[in-house]
Amino acid sequence: MITNVVLDQVCHLVLEDWAMMMVDDTELSIAQFDAEQPFFIASVNYSGVFEGALTILAQRPFMLTLAQNVLGADASDAICNEQLRDAFSEMANVVSGNYLTAAYGKDVEFDLVLPRVEEIPAAIASVLLSKKGACYLADEHPIAICSEIHFAYT
C-alpha cells in the first residue's frame, strides 16, 4: 500500500534524524514488548478532505530514550514523566504533519488536533498491532505506528 511506504519513509526520517535512533524494520507481536511495562499510545486526529488518526504504540523505555535523545540529555540526567509524555506527543505531531503532506500532497489541507498520550491495556495494544502500519525496533525498543484515514465528505 502506497501510504504505508510513505509512512515508513516518514517514520525513518523522524526516528533517525529527529530522535537520533537506530531503526530496524520488523514484524512485531505483543510478545516482543516488555510484559512488565505498561503500554502507551500517542495519537493525533486530523480532519480536512480526509479525516483519520495516527497512533504510535510504545512503552516507557522507548519514551525515555526518545526524550533523552531529543533533549540531548545523558543517561544519568533525570527525565520527568511530563517530559516523557511531551516527547512522545511531539513525535506523534511531527510524524503526522510530515506523513500527511508526503502522502497526500501540499495542496491538501488538514487540521491536526493536539496530540494525546494515554496509557492503554495490553489487549488494546494487541488490537493496534494487528492493524496495517509500520513496526520497528528503535534503539532496540519496539514501537508500532498506524494511520487510519478515510474520506470525510462522501
Binding site: 523522524v14 526524550a67 505531531n93 510530515n98 495542496d107
Partner: protein, 130 residues
C-alpha cells in the same frame, strides 16, 4: 546588545530543543523567553522587547494563526518578525501564513543549519558578526 528571542510552543521539549539549537548558532543572543501559547506570548511581548518570535501553529488556548492575527492588529507589535516552526506543510496554510506576514516557515524537524541560515537571513547577516 544581543538579540532577544521569544519561543512560542506548547511543548516544553520543543522549547528546550530550540533553545539549545539557538545557543549553538553563534548568534549574539542576550535573552530567550518562552510562552506555551499565543495568549501568553502576546502578554510577554507587551512586557518585554523581542527581536524575533518562533511560533508553533497547533497550540491550545490561542493557536499560532490566532496569535498572528492579534499580532498584526496590534499597533505596537504589528511589525514583529515571526518564524513559524511547525509540522504544517500544505500550500494553503503556507499562503495564509505568508498573508499574515511571517518571515519564514520551517517544518519540523528543523536541521540546525537551516535554523541558523533562516535566523541570519531574517535578522540580518551584519548583526550575526557582532
Amino acid at each position: 546588545m544581543g538579540y532577544r528571542l521569544l519561543i512560542v510552543d506548547d511543548s516544553s521539549i520543543v522549547r528546550n530543543v530550540l533553545k539549545k539549537a539557538l545557543g549553538m548558532t553563534g548568534l549574539d543572543i542576550s535573552n530567550i523567553s518562552e510562552a506555551e501559547n499565543g495568549l501568553i506570548a502576546l502578554a510577554k511581548l507587551h512586557e518585554e522587547r523581542a527581536d524575533l518570535v518562533f511560533l508553533d501553529i497547533n497550540m491550545p488556548v490561542m493557536n499560532g494563526m490566532e496569535f498572528l492575527q492579534e499580532l498584526r492588529d496590534d499597533e505596537i507589535l504589528k511589525a514583529m518578525p515571526v518564524i513559524v516552526v511547525s509540522t504544517e506543510g500544505s500550500d494553503i496554510r503556507k499562503a495564509q501564513l505568508m498573508e499574515l506576514g511571517i518571515s519564514a516557515l520551517l517544518r519540523k524537524p528543523v536541521p540546525p543549519e537551516i535554523l541558523v541560515e533562516t535566523i541570519v537571513s531574517v535578522l540580518g547577516e551584519s548583526k550575526h558578526d557582532n
